[in-house]
């Protein structure tokens, strides 16, 4: 197995596409929760090859996009403290906060570093004992275990100058919030692949059971998504709603127990703010009492000031699946990847960025 090119073979894709066309009779709307799936869907033009019966909407599964401005402002405020080094994943740099972005404060002299893993941030703390390193803990259940591991390692090694600003988000609670709001009528859910690799497929059961919506966990290659759509169509045409996995090479129903244990040991659920969605109970992660001395918010006295949303930006509506980038007046004009107004245009997994880069609905 090479794990990439086999999942992009056109003759297999052709077969799946015609199978979907043959089977799909009932009009249905599917949401892909994950930004990674959104990118695959646009990069390969999947919406163009599906039958007219099927409608696809993008969900809130881009961790950068759903980070509230108030949280971004906290990160920027932390960067202004002397002797503080901010360590962050690269995608965060360009996201505009209420008044500035990490990229701008970096240009003005703030000590902001891009890292590729939490362990790099921890090493940075070890190498700079006179400074404080604050890691921007962003992401879903996929990144949280690695951040938990870095905290446990810091504790074990007695590294006292490493802190985490926990802005983590949990996926199942926000899906419940979206479904409860009733704003978007969904008939099928493409469940996130990497998140499910950690949490397994059981945490999605409530969607199939309580809301009667078929769920299929998908991988990230074009054939994965087509297979997932095919399985969703099967459930719909058979009048079923179950949780299935179309990504067996990455996901087991019970998830990754070791990663879950790490998360459980270091973090506990808390209410948190999602951009465009508001506060959702138990959808965030905060450090447990035992590890609170690593909490950047408690360790530093910051006043980020009031948070503002950019005028005219509809990222919030897009994240709820209520609107698409095409509905936004700023899209492609005032808001482009070079000059982003909202986060969905910045993040490589944002809907607006995918629409813009790959030409949503483009025929040519």
């Amino acid at each position: 197995m090479k794990f990439v090119s086999e999942f992009r073979r056109s003759e297999l894709a052709e077969g799946l596409i015609s199978q979907i066309h043959r089977k799909s009779r009932t009009p249905a709307r599917f949401m892909e929760f994950c930004g990674g799936h959104t990118v695959t869907i646009f990069r390969y033009g999947i919406r163009q090859v599906l039958p007219r019966t099927l409608d696809m909407v993008s969900g809130p599964g881009c961790p950068i996009c759903v980070t509230a401005n108030a949280d971004l402002d906290k990160a920027i405020a932390l960067s202004q403290i002397p002797e503080v080094i901010i360590a962050t994943f690269g995608d965060m740099l360009k996201v505009p906060g209420s008044r500035s972005s990490l990229q701008e404060v970096k240009a003005d002299g703030a000590d902001v570093h891009t890292v590729y893993s939490t362990m790099d941030a921890l090493r940075m703390a070890e190498e700079n004992p006179t400074k404080s390193v604050v890691f921007l803990g962003i992401g879903f259940e996929t990144t949280a275990p690695t951040i938990a591991a870095s905290i446990l390692q810091a504790e074990e090694k007695g590294i006292g100058n490493y802190y985490v600003l926990s802005m983590h988000k949990l996926c199942p609670p926000v899906l419940r919030a979206i479904l409860d709001s009733g704003e978007v009528k969904l008939h099928g859910l493409i469940c996130p692949g990497h998140v499910s690799a950690i949490i397994g497929s059981y945490p999605w059961e409530f969607i199939a059971r309580d809301y009667g919506i078929p769920c299929v966990v998908s991988g990230f290659e074009p054939l994965d998504i087509l297979q997932c759509v095919d399985m969703l169509v099967d459930q719909i045409e058979n009048g079923e709603s179950r949780v299935e996995i179309a990504y067996r090479r990455g996901v087991h129903p019970e998830g990754n127990q070791q990663a879950l244990k790490l998360m459980e040991q270091v973090f506990e659920p808390c209410p948190t703010q999602w951009r465009g969605i508001g506060e959702v109970p138990d959808s965030g992660l905060k450090l447990r009492k035992k590890y609170q001395h690593f909490d950047a918010e408690l360790a530093f006295d910051i006043d980020p000031g009031p948070a503002y949303e950019p005028v005219g930006c509809i990222c919030g509506d897009i994240l709820r699946g209520v609107k698409t980038p095409a509905d936004c007046q700023l899209f492609g004009k005032a808001c482009t990847p070079e000059h982003p107004v909202g986060p969905c245009m910045v993040s490589s997994e944002g809907s607006c960025s995918a629409y813009y880069l790959y030409g949503g609905g483009f025929e040519g």
Binding site: Y44, I46, H194
Partner: protein, 334 residues
Amino acid sequence: MKDKILLAHGSGGKLAHELVEKSFVKAFSNPFLAKLDDSAVIDISGRLAFTTDSYVVSPIFFPGGDIGKLAVFGTVNDLAMSGAHPLYLSLSFIIEEGLPLDELNQIVNSVQKAAQEAGVEIVTGDTKVVNRGSADRLFINTAGVGIIPDGVDISGSNARPGDKVLLSGTIGDHGIAVLSQREGLRFSTKLESDCAPLNSLVAEMLNASPNIHCLRDPTRGGLATSLNELAKQSKVSIRIEEEKIPVREEVLAACEMLGFDPLYVANEGKLVAIVPPEDADKVLGAMRGSHYGKSAAIIGEVRAEHPGRVAMKTCLGASRIVDMLVGDLLPRIC
């Protein structure tokens, strides 16, 4: 203790002379340089192509090459992309103090080997040493000149509707090989940079057809950026087919891991050619017959509608836009 470059090596005094004679003149032995005059004096006639470039790659040694080889081939390739036959290069070294002399000599030798492979001579140069922290180990600035044969007219604005788009081989090898060595990102791969001189390939292509319209080497910004430049300059659109573009499995895998699209990853030994349709097969044959174009392919064509746009037929048969690279390539976080 190992010998290192000191600030005095760039002072113009004794140490500087010693460095020039022992390292540079010895390696690049040619009559122009050996005179050690302020300029190289050369007789030249014909249509002159003249280019300059700077090399700041990090790390300076990477699988399949180093900054010296890159500087020579990069400059040679810029000349070759205008159809020129490259002749002479200048090289300026900006060295951060503390660079081990061994490493400098390794790079100088690699420059010489590369110049030999490409058939060019290093006829003039300069060395400066800067304080620690003022440069990242070693930067190289180059200039190059070459002669364009009569009857050759190659420019980014020459693409015409109906023309075919040819690519000389696999994309993304250089970018991924360099990234695999980068601090904080290190991953193991057998992949090597494709760093290569393209002048002999271009000569063979021009032999097959002097009517080649455009040539470009897709370095920074990758194939996608080069095609966008050509579409904009020529005021045409370009449509490529995903399945026709050769990409190594290692590059595909690394791109998946890092969240990159191979279309945007740098190459240092590949070229894109835009050729009239009637000459496409001849030129393709010449490319495949060259050591530097064995896996060449026709990847698409030039169209009149939507000037400035590059579109791609995906492996699912759908279409998507291929835009220019925006900002830097960044790794994904989930």
